[in-house]
Symmetry: C2
């Protein structure tokens, strides 16, 4: 039973936390992600950019209460990738 490779975009500690949060929350922002992950801004910035480049999440920059504000949400592609990842992972975990 040859196990397939897991999607490397998703199989990362921090990116999985981010995506897991966005899947549950439907939509969120940079700060909320910072809170729920406990990661540094720098690390989040880098990982968000990777998720965006892969077109797994949508990044909308704007303003909120005079401060810059970055809204984050899953794309269709990201949602599907996550679901595929979950299905593949189940085989690893015997679920």
């Amino acid at each position: 039973m040859q196990l397939k490779d897991l999607d490397p975009i998703l199989h990362s500690q921090l990116r999985l936390k981010i995506v897991s949060h966005l899947m549950a929350a439907e939509s969120s922002d940079f700060n909320e992600v910072k809170e729920v992950t406990g990661a540094s801004s720098g690390n989040i910035s880098v990982q968000v950019k990777k998720l965006q480049k892969a077109e797994y999440i949508k990044v909308e920059k704007g303003f909120k209460n005079n401060y810059q504000h970055t809204a984050l949400s899953m794309t269709e592609k990201g949602t599907k990738a996550f679901e595929t990842y979950v299905e593949e992972l189940k085989k690893y975990l015997n679920l």
Copy 2:
């Protein structure tokens, strides 16, 4: 809902394949791992060593048909770590 960090020993593409295989097979060897993972000997050697150092797997070196032979199996600690990993991961995946 703050997600806990996943066990970094297990949250690795190749090591997870190895452990997943050993969990299912009860016991195995270097070659079988090479076949089911499709990874290079070098990579497997390194990752097996990490799993051994963490005391997640038992590595028994001996001989079989005149050739050196490395038997691999889960330890109690490794089995528990895997089960904990699965439980934690379920929270990420909403399972």
